[in-house]
Structures are given as C-alpha cells and as structure tokens.
Symmetry: C2
Subunit: 160 residues, 2 copies
Amino acid sequence: MIARMTWDAMDDHHPSARLRRLPSRMLSMVAMHADRLVSEGLAREDARKWHYAALVALDEAGPASQAELSKRTGIYRSDLVAVINELAERGHVERAPDPADRRRNVITVTEPGRRHLRRLDKLITELQDDVLAPLTQPEREQLTGVLAQILEHHSRSRTS
Amino acid sequence: MIARMTWDAMDDHHPSARLRRLPSRMLSMVAMHADRLVSEGLAREDARKWHYAALVALDEAGPASQAELSKRTGIYRSDLVAVINELAERGHVERAPDPADRRRNVITVTEPGRRHLRRLDKLITELQDDVLAPLTQPEREQLTGVLAQILEHHSRSRTS
DNA sequence: GTATATCGTTAGTGCCACTAACGCAAGACG
DNA sequence: CGTCTTGCGTTAGTGGCACTAACGATATAC
C-alpha cells in the first residue's frame, strides 16, 4: 500500500568523497529524507503535504478561489483540483461557485477542517523536530536562515 | 525538448508565513532548485546526474560490477542498467563480462570517459557555486556541515 | 461585439525512487 | 554429486510529483 518504506539505496555503503560532500547532492538527500518523514507522518492522519499546504493557506488568508490558492501554496492549479476534491470528500473544505465571478469556485475551510488542521499543525511541528533532530537550536536557525537566503536569492534572480 | 524550464509555481506570490518557514518545505524547494540547476547544466554536456555519479564512483575506486556501483552511488541496480547503457553508447565506459564471476559485468572508465568526467567536474563545481551563490564561505561550510550531520544521524538511526 | 485573458478541469509527459520477478550463475552444505 | 540459497543483471511496472497543453465557460478590454 505505502510505497517507499525502505531506504536501502542510501544505507551503509561508502559513496566516494566527491559525491558525499557535494552540496546539491546533500541537499537532495536531506530533502528526500525530510519529505519521507513528513509524508509518512501525514499519511497517519490520512493527509498529504498538499492538503496541509492548502489548509494553511486558507486558514491564514481566508477563503479563496483555486487560482488564488494555487498562488499561495505553489501547487499547480491542475493538481489543486484533486487536492480540493480530497479535502472536500473528507469534509475539510467546501467548494462553492463564486456568485460574483462564475468562472471561480470559492474554497472555504469548514469547522472540522480547522480541527483537522490543528492536529496537522501539531504533527508537522513534531516532524520538523524529527528532521532536525541532531541539530542544536542555533544550528537549526542557521540552517533555516541560510535556506531562506538561497530561496530569496533565486526568486529575486528570476522575477524582475 | 527540455521540460521544466519554467518555474512559475514558486514565483512572486506570497505563501503564508507558516509555510514559508517550514524547514522541510524550504529544504525541498532549495533541493529542487539545486537539482534543476545541476540537471540543466549537465544537459548542456549531454549528461545526467547519474552519469556523473557513476563516473565519479568508477574514477575514485576503480572498475566495479554494477551491483558494487549501485552501492557506491546509491543508484538502484535496476536504474543503473540504463545509465551504463547510456555511458557505454557515448563511449565513456566499457561493460565486459567478469571472467571470474560470470554473473557480473565489469564496468571500466575509458580514456574519453575520464576526459568527459574532468569536464563534468569543472561544470559541477561551477554549478554548486550557482546554487550557493548568495552565501559567504563560512555560511557554505555551515550549511554543508549541518546537512552532513542530518544525513549522518539518519543513516545511523536506520543501520544497526 | 469581437478579441483576449482567466478559471476550473482533464489528460498527458517525463523523471525519479522504488518493487517484483525473471533467468542465470556461484557458493554452501550434506 | 545434487539441492538450496544467495547474488547478479535485466525487464517491467507503480506511484508521486513537477509541469504542459488544451478545453469550454465566463469575464474583461478594445
């Protein structure tokens, strides 16, 4: 049912020094690991990363159209369709046509959706902790600071 | 021909604070970005990440069977088949049956393969620089140090 | 009032991590 | 010797994700 439970490709072998210390490679391995932890954790609550992202975006900035939600979360509007379907099935959001613009749907978090989000928030916090487990608090801040810089830099270099 | 040239999903919108500072999310975004830079760079030399990984592993520890190579690089042995095919087509490695164990193939880097690798090494170094562009040297070392710690920690917790 | 842009949606592409199963060969052991 | 297990390369397939293309319907701009 759940794929990606094993992890053998990265186990106890001895990759060459050149590969082992390649920043881009380390980044993708750590990201992959983090992703797996998070996805498996969320699966225990019958949720996926995108569910969380969509709920957070709705919770923080209020009801929105799918296009707007896509911009807030970075989820492609084509993929968002399924995410909203799933959240609606579970009763966590409602999808209603926008009377003011009939091309749009207005997505709203329901009360159960909010409760669900609270659980997910807690879970996500724990999972972040698992990911960063070996790091001290200052190290964690260094890491997030540095990652933020990189993201900042690259979005700047792309948008005029 | 080359997919993933655009990047709009991550552009100039305003993700919620909760999402924006989520370490696992930052990691995957940065990793994705790095990966794209590297893949596009390597594509200019008609190579892929796996080609580089395999060549490095062969270069550093000498000829090896595919299984051995899979352990060195982390590439699944099923996926390695295609990688070796491609490298062999380009004349960068040779695949020969191992007389000592007829189940195995011995993969050897050719001289053109070594020259190719030298180009890739140079390119990869530049690309790492692009990825880490906004960071100072000490910050780069912090980042790689911290990433190494995380990888270390997680491989320890999986292997007895 | 016709061109143009936007919205939700469907379908599909290609890459990647990963699994399953195959035929074949080697090693272990009685 | 024969059987049993284990490791090898290979093929095929799964599922997720990032991403593109194109559609009908509606809104906006000229």
